[in-house]
């Protein structure tokens, strides 16, 4: 709780900076309007009030974004095409489906890697190298190719999400499943434990902290994947579509609202995983 004051101070400073930047960036339009109307140069206070509530500002002010967020979440039926809850759900469902697929496959591959030496030596370098490749660049292609195969809507986006969350989980889980040291493994051997028992009773529990760390990375990557996956389909539905249509039509307030909605969703997912992590690790006696 002692940390709350500095965090709030920093957030307040950011908001103040934001207002300052909004005045500066939006003032050009105000001056422009004044010259066109032939009026005299507006005073500074006039400029400030004018920049606060423009319809298409260069930088929307925080209260405009908040108002737009409020209007398009609470103030609208969630079935409406303009409701951010609707678009957020479209994105979130693809994210969650992809995240589940990616995590499941990632864990399976990790289990294969720790039990099979050939797989470890051949797949692991590629899994690590794949982290350095801008995978997201393939996203539009996957969408279009799957579209031509007759798959559209949720599944192609989920595949991209799965792909992005897959590698962090593989790398994290391999590390985690290998984290028990030789002493512990030897102890189980003296108990005459089978490989399966060693796996379930020692390796899996000790991999949990690693699993949760990579889940947090993975869910954030999944959301990015789902958002980017929505771009090439031509802005139909989803947060990415809101970003794209906003950028086509110059609706800056809409872009910022969609951006904040995405941020809130991402933060919510990470916090949720954090809570599950804390609960699980506490039950397992791993939190000191």
């Amino acid at each position: 709780m002692r940390n709350i004051v500095p965090i709030l101070t920093v957030v307040a400073a950011i908001v103040i900076l934001w207002y300052g930047a909004a005045v500066k960036l939006n003032s050009a339009w105000v001056y422009d309007q004044a010259t066109r109307a032939g009026a005299k140069v507006p005073s500074f206070s006039q400029v400030v009030t004018e920049t606060m509530n423009q319809e298409r500002p260069v930088l929307p002010t925080p209260h405009q974004v908040t108002a737009e967020l409020w209007k398009s979440t609470v103030g609208m039926a969630i079935t409406s095409k303009r409701s951010l809850v609707y678009h957020g759900w479209v994105t979130l469902s693809a994210t969650l489906l992809g995240f589940a697929i990616g995590t499941g496959l990632g864990v399976l591959l990790a289990v294969g890697i720790i039990h099979n030496r050939a797989m470890d030596m051949s797949v692991m370098p590629w899994a690590i190298a794949s982290q350095t490749i801008p995978i997201l660049a393939i996203a539009p292609m996957i969408i279009v190719v799957l579209n031509s195969l007759g798959l559209q809507g949720l599944v192609p986006k989920a595949i991209i999400s799965a792909y992005l969350s897959f590698f962090p989980v593989v790398v994290g889980m391999v590390k985690g499943l290998r984290s028990p040291d030789q002493m512990q493994l030897d102890l189980l051997k003296t108990y005459n434990a089978s490989a399966a028992a060693a796996f379930w009773k020692l390796r899996v529990p000790s991999s949990m902290p690693y699993l949760f760390a990579s889940l947090k990375v993975g869910i954030a990557a999944s959301l990015v994947g789902a958002i980017v996956g929505e771009l090439p389909t031509g802005a139909v539905a989803g947060l990415g579509a809101r970003l794209l249509s906003g950028s086509y039509y110059g609706q800056t307030v809409q872009i910022w609202a969609a951006l904040f909605a995405a941020a809130i969703v991402a933060a919510g997912m990470v916090i949720l995983i954090g809570v599950i992590e804390k609960g699980t690790l506490k039950r397992m006696g791993m939190v000191r």
Partner: protein
């Protein structure tokens, strides 16, 4: 059909070879450790080529690797121009600016625990957000050319770098700082001679994470608007023409560029932080 059989045979053969290699004594040598993944990669390529040919997959859905390679060979100038526009102008400029700004910010807030307590959670929070979403805004502000891509990259790499640098500046222990104090070293001397060198492993960790983010940011930002050159633009435009071989060629270039960039940073890291346990051999 014969293509499929050849491909599957190559796959099984490669896999068998890998199993033998990984259990043989050669697996512990450097050559063995290099050969196994290379064989694996090659068998995947052969399998891909064979399946695409054998099952008559339309090149609009998945072009065979040979077609992609031919495309790379035939359109080198285009790929080169795209690479220059996106990777060098957009990503590298943004990377240098963003990482530089983050290190300077970290040093600036280093003396204030209050600011650190406030900025770090915010920085961690922002690092988890889908920052690529800021791309349309940056395109609106800075125009279609590489400046807007560099701006997206700056914002993407800033927070991971900041968080890592701040953590790195805390990496010295009290004994070491006390020693500097007994030498009556000033704050800046301590920073330059003790704390920055000690922070290097963390700095390089941030630099490595950022190197991948930078290229992703620059490519995705081009989906929102770009001049008629650039890797993201080419991918987007080729989708419209269903020129899948061009897209795979761009992806190959992106993968090479990303890996080379990462490898370069890792190489510099090995040179500069040779003293760190993780770099010892």
């Amino acid at each position: 059909m014969s293509w499929v059989i050849v491909a599957l045979a190559a796959w099984i053969g490669g896999w068998y070879l890998n199993i033998r290699l990984s259990h043989a004594a050669v697996a512990r040598t450097r050559a063995g450790q290099l050969a196994v993944p290379v064989i694996f990669g090659l068998t995947i390529l052969i399998l891909w080529e064979g399946l695409v040919r054998g099952l008559n997959v339309s090149p609009v859905i998945l072009p065979p690797p040979s077609a992609v390679l031919a495309r790379i060979g035939s359109s080198l100038p285009t790929l080169g121009a795209d690479f220059w526009q996106t990777a060098v102008k957009g990503a590298l400029t943004g990377y240098v600016l963003g990482c530089g700004a983050a290190v300077l910010t970290a040093i600036a807030i280093d003396r204030s625990p209050f600011l650190q307590k406030g900025l770090l959670p915010v920085g961690n929070f922002v690092a988890a957000l889908p920052i690529v979403g800021i791309a349309p805004i940056m395109v609106m502000w800075f125009g279609f050319d590489w400046q807007s891509k560099a701006a997206v990259v700056v914002i993407m790499v800033f927070f991971p770098m900041l968080v890592n640098t701040v953590a790195g500046l805390k990496a010295t222990d009290a004994m070491q700082r006390d020693l500097m104090a007994t030498y009556s070293a000033s704050y800046w001397q301590t920073l330059a001679k003790l704390r920055l060198p000690a922070a290097m492993p963390f700095l390089f960790n941030g630099l490595k994470i950022s190197s991948t983010l930078a290229l992703i940011g620059a490519i995705v930002a081009e989906f929102f608007g770009s001049p008629i050159v650039g890797m993201g633009f080419r991918i987007n435009a080729s989708i419209g023409q269903l020129a899948l071989d061009m897209i795979w060629a761009e992806i190959a270039v992106a993968a090479l560029a990303g890996s080379a960039f990462y490898g370069l940073v890792a190489l510099i890291e090995r040179r500069m932080t040779f003293w760190h346990p993780s770099q010892r051999r």
